[in-house]
Amino acid sequence: MKDFWRRFSRNRGAVVGLVILLLVCLVAALADVIFPGSPWDMATAPFMPPGEEGMLLGSDSLGRDVAAGIAHGSRISLMVGAVSTVAALAIGVSLGALAGYLGGWVDDAVMRFTEFFQTIPSFVFAILLVAIFTPTIGSVVFAIAVVSWPPVARVVRAEFLSLRSREFVQAAEVLGKSRLAIVVTDILPNALSPIVVLSSLMVASAILLESALSFLGLGDPNLMTWGFLIGSGRSVIRIAWWMSVFPGLAIFLTVLALNLVGEGLSDALNPRLARKRGGAA
């Protein structure tokens, strides 16, 4: 663990990313304390520029506090990012494990299925799913999970393919362990590090995808989100630039932080690769 942390902190960008990410989590946790009351409530006159009337980041077309919207929106973004990643991991890991461990026609079938999902334009498909199953937080998470599992399945399959013929797996087979037990207790723990790195990047892209959906008006109508804030600022960008600039910065910082942390994790978990990359850069 100490070793892990030492390698992680050698990547300065990753440490910066981690700090930003912790700050975003703090804002999300304290949103009700810093900005009590609903972010949908009118707080002041409409279109107040940042800094006036006690509005740190200005107010929107209905006099709502943009800063309060961003703070409350951070909860939804982080939550959707995390939950949809967990769901995508569940689909991707089980399909990838199945294909990689069993091989043969199962592998073929699963890979064709995965390729199909990689070929179709995923964003258009996500829009379609949310529109058809009506926009709720559940359908948004479902749609994001459905379009983001294929890379996981590929990575897990590749890991399982190379691990299943190793000696420790053969030993477990000789001992008479069941297939399920071998997959879960012997192979999966050894395939974990690429999955961990991938999932930090998936949270980042899930946040981007969620913001794009709610920008198009496909967010849950009862929840304040960053994408919704930018979407509502779009038509009035000529008179109220702050309405779209600040929520966008919030998305940018969060996603950047997650990407940086992902690189740090990759360095910490694959020290050999990190040294190679350090040599090339």
Binding site: I120, P121, L128, A212, F215, G217, R234, L256
Partner: protein
């Protein structure tokens, strides 16, 4: 790959593409059935009459009283003849609506793609040749930034900067309103409107291609055939162009094929921001009106575009791969 094997390779890819499209059509069919509201009652609601006999008549007319597999067969036959359904909101066939908007989308995605590939490969080559220099770091920082920025937000910021503050470029539409232009003036007008949307859509991929080109060029530069070329006394510029870049381009092409779907998806966001009259904007309007027939049509069309694009990259791969030339 040998040239003589090329037709077989393309045939296999063609069959695969056709199967993918078939799967998309079937997928579409089941999504129609998952959409809220029985199509007959939706139509009846829109035409203002809703008694039971009229509904039954509508169901019969559209084959909705048939078993599911018969309906699927009817739907498949329809799609084969470009019958993608009827938009009861706009009172036009879906294919007509899409065909009107397709050229604008192709222009936008094409321009963005060309921009991303040319600028990305150039920047990536520069970065790889001067590893560790300030130019290299700047390119890495730009790439990281665009990885993390929502596409639609980049568009809005460009509008804010270039249209609202500097007033250099138009912020929406494809043509100037209220003036009639012909010939070169009309083309320049469209180009002016195209610049910001194409830049928005292209910037992210530019960053991606720059990073990818840099990484693969560094990898190829270490290989034996490059050392051999240098040892033979081939000039440095020629080594980079003929030996390194040409081999480094292969993964870039593969990646371009994989990314095609995202480029098309991104165009929905960009067209929404810039009111660009393409199929993305059509999808956004259909979304607001919950016009599922149009949405499904757009999904089908964009999927076909992506499959077509993948076929093209396969062909290109065969052309660029130096081994084809050696053996042919």
């Amino acid at each position: 790959m040998e040239l003589s094997r090329l037709p077989g390779f393309l045939l296999r890819r063609g069959v695969k593409a056709a199967l993918v499209i078939l799967a998309i059509v079937v997928c579409n069919f089941f999504l129609i059935h998952a959409a809220p509201g029985d199509p007959a009652s939706v139509i009846a609601g829109q035409s203002g009459a809703a008694d039971e006999r009229f509904l039954a008549q509508l169901r019969q007319q559209f084959g909705l009283d048939q078993p599911l597999y018969v309906q699927l067969w009817i739907y498949l036959k329809g799609v084969l003849t470009l019958d993608l359904g009827f938009s009861h909101r706009q009172q036009l066939p879906v294919w007509t609506l899409i065909a009107q908007r397709l050229p604008a989308t192709l222009l936008l995605t094409g321009a963005a793609f060309v921009l991303a590939v040319t600028a990305g490969v150039t920047l990536g080559t520069l970065a790889a040749r001067r590893v560790g220099s300030w130019a290299d770091s700047i390119i890495t920082v730009i790439a990281l930034t665009f990885y993390a920025t929502p596409l639609f937000w980049v568009g809005l910021m460009l509008v804010l900067f270039f249209s609202v503050w500097l007033e250099w470029l138009p912020s929406f539409g494809m043509n100037s309103v209220g003036v009639e232009l012909y010939g070169i003036a009309a083309m320049l007008d469209v180009a002016q409107h195209l610049l910001l949307p194409a830049l928005t859509l292209g910037l992210f991929y530019l960053a991606v291609y720059a990073r990818l080109t840099r990484a693969t060029m560094l990898e190829v530069a270490d290989q034996d055939f490059v050392k051999t070329a240098r040892a033979k006394g081939v000039p440095e510029g020629q080594v980079v162009r003929r030996h390194v870049l040409r081999n480094a381009l292969l993964p870039v092409i593969t990646f371009a094929g994989i990314q095609a779907g995202q480029l098309v998806g991104g165009s929905i966001l960009v067209e929404t921001v810039f009111a660009w009259p393409g199929i993305g904007r059509l999808a956004f309007d259909a979304l607001l009106a919950r016009d599922y027939a149009v949405l499904l049509g757009v999904f089908f069309c964009t999927s076909v575009m992506v499959v077509g694009f993948n076929l093209m990259t396969d062909l290109l791969y065969a052309v660029v791969d130096p081994r084809v030339e050696v053996e042919g």
